[in-house]
């Protein structure tokens, strides 16, 4: 792994995305700016009081708000949300309902797919419609800036496990002590200052968030073709990795250069990823922004997928070699360095002094709208704000980061429900069994 500091500096609206609905295997290919995908679970053809829509990601809607859909009914694309969820626990985050007022035709029939954008107020849709995009990050440090050291003697729950294997059990007929290495905790710091003077975030506001960006280096050589996607790409598609992760899909390629080398045994090629340096850019989370309430919501977290170098290490399964399971990790781990207010300020330039340059001008109310940036050290009654040490002309923010490298097919409860167990043909390394003599 190589570690950097980055910040979100821009948005990409035309990124092609793909996902599947894990329960039904319905899939979508859409562009980020189209919004959030949905399919109709119970349509107008069921003659129920509601038409039920299900999304593969959290829709972010509340009752009374509107959805601007890619499908239309007699030219109308704006519909009001009447309720959320079905009887299942937690479904209100993924399911929304429209009142079935007697829609006819094929617009709202079951299994219809599309995308929608959230609208707070249909009477003021120009101001209150959300925009959807992929956040773009810019690297602020070089690899040399990183200082990674052991965090004392701390080890996590997955410690090292060792086992003596007698020579008749080893591939080269030599006795060895096999070690299944665990992982530990590190202190990650940077020996260069991070100066945010003059920097703006992806919405043109002062920076309130930096990111610890960690990129798989893989110099060991047994991985290749680092891929990128989002959390919604972790769902299995017909019990296999999504086609999004196939080597042939250029939309999931990372922009990090990949190099190769031959080993001292003149075997190869073994692949590894290049360093990033200050000024390089990298994709980030799938987000929603609404000008009216001046709020950004992360819809789906950006992920990388590590895949094995099939030339030299193969997983023992019948899946196609171009789309094997791998490991996911989250490259960007945010650290808050500032905070915007929970309330929204509103005022005109004739009555209010000090309107920030990032304020949004609402054409309907003819007023500027913005959230105040709280001063350092101020935390409001809701706990919003930052208060970290300031010393020697520098701020010292600190967070605890748990960096998970997650094997594909695991930690996805919906898959467990449909499969009843870990998917077949996927085997993991069991802990070495050591008896008391060892």
């Amino acid at each position: 792994m190589r570690h950097y500091i980055s910040y979100a500096y821009g948005n990409v609206y035309n990124k092609t995305l793909f996902t599947v609905e894990p329960d039904s295997n319905i899939n979508w290919t859409w562009v980020a700016s189209d919004g959030i995908p949905f399919y109709i679970v119970e349509g107008s053809d069921k003659l129920l009081t509601n038409i039920t829509f299900k999304c593969p990601v959290e829709h972010g809607l509340t009752v009374g708000e509107f959805v601007y859909m890619s499908i239309n009914y007699n030219g109308n694309q704006m519909f009001q949300v009447s309720s959320l969820g079905d009887p299942a626990y937690g479904s209100n985050l993924y399911i929304f309902n429209l009142r079935n007022v007697g829609y006819t035709g094929s617009t709202f029939v079951t299994n219809t797919q599309g995308t929608f954008k959230r609208v707070i107020n249909a009477a003021n849709s120009a101001d209150t419609i959300s925009e959807y995009y992929i956040r773009k990050h810019k690297i602020m440090t070089t690899p040399d800036c990183t200082v990674l050291s052991n965090a004392g003697f701390e080890r996590n729950i997955y410690g090292d496990k060792t086992k003596c294997e007698i020579k008749s059990l080893t591939p080269n007929q030599k006795q060895r002590t096999s070690v299944k290495e665990g992982s530990r905790s590190y202190t990650l710091a940077f020996n260069c200052d991070i100066d945010i003077e003059g920097l703006k975030d992806n919405q043109g506001r002062p920076l309130t968030e930096l990111f610890f960006t960690s990129i798989w280096r893989g110099y060991f050589g047994w991985t290749r073709n680092l891929k990128q996607g989002w959390y919604f790409n972790t769902y299995l598609e017909n019990k296999k990795p999504q086609t999004w992760w196939d080597n042939s899909n250029v939309n999931s390629n990372v922009t990090i250069p990949q190099y190769s080398y031959n080993s001292l045994l003149n075997k190869g090629p073994f692949f590894y990823n290049s360093f990033l340096t200050s000024g390089d850019t990298i994709d980030g989370d799938f987000c929603e922004w609404n000008d009216y309430n001046q709020f950004e919501r992360v819809i789906s977290i950006y992920q990388h997928k590590i895949k094995y170098n099939e030339n030299w290490f193969r997983l023992d399964n019948p899946l196609p070699t171009s789309n094997q399971p791998g490991y996911f990790y989250r490259p960007h781990n945010p650290i808050q360095i500032g905070a915007f207010s929970e309330y929204i300020e509103e005022g005109s330039s004739t009555n209010v002094v000090g309107i920030p340059d990032y304020a949004y001008y609402s054409t309907l109310s003819a007023l500027f709208r913005w959230r105040d940036k709280y001063p350092y050290g101020y935390v409001d009654t809701d706990g919003v704000g930052v208060d970290f040490p300031y010393l020697n002309n520098a701020h010292y923010p600190f967070i605890d980061t748990i960096f998970r490298i997650t094997p594909e097919d695991y930690n996805i409860p919906s898959d467990y429900a449909s499969l009843g167990s870990v998917p077949a043909n996927i085997t993991t390394i069991s802990d070495p069994v050591a008896d008391e003599c060892e």
Partner: protein, 101 residues
């Protein structure tokens, strides 16, 4: 107020031989080139808390630090014919190493 350094002041009787003793005077211009510090500029009240907060709010330098805990378990097994991997890694499956390649 300063004296022009180009002036050289000597005793009147020393100007030439048998010079008479006379009264001497120098016209010093009334020009001021310095002034005293105003009292409240010199003894301004410094509130440490205010100074600290002012510097803190204007500072744009950050040194972020994190405790970075890596969690990794359930690695996949696999097979290989590359000797260093095959002979040294617990990750490989010896039966498949022999049969798949």
């Amino acid at each position: 107020m300063t004296v022009d350094p180009s002036y050289r002041i000597i005793l009147s009787t020393e100007r030439f031989k048998s010079a008479p003793r006379t009264d001497q005077a120098i016209n010093v211009p009334f020009a001021q080139s310095m002034k005293e510090i105003i009292e409240f500029d010199r003894s301004i009240d410094l509130n440490l808390v205010d100074v600290f907060d002012q510097e803190r709010q204007t500072c744009t330098i950050f040194r972020p630090v994190t405790k970075f805990t890596i969690l990794f378990e359930n690695a996949f097994t696999g097979s290989t014919v590359y000797e260093p991997f095959r002979d040294n890694l617990y990750y490989t499956n010896p039966i498949n190493n022999a049969s798949l390649y």
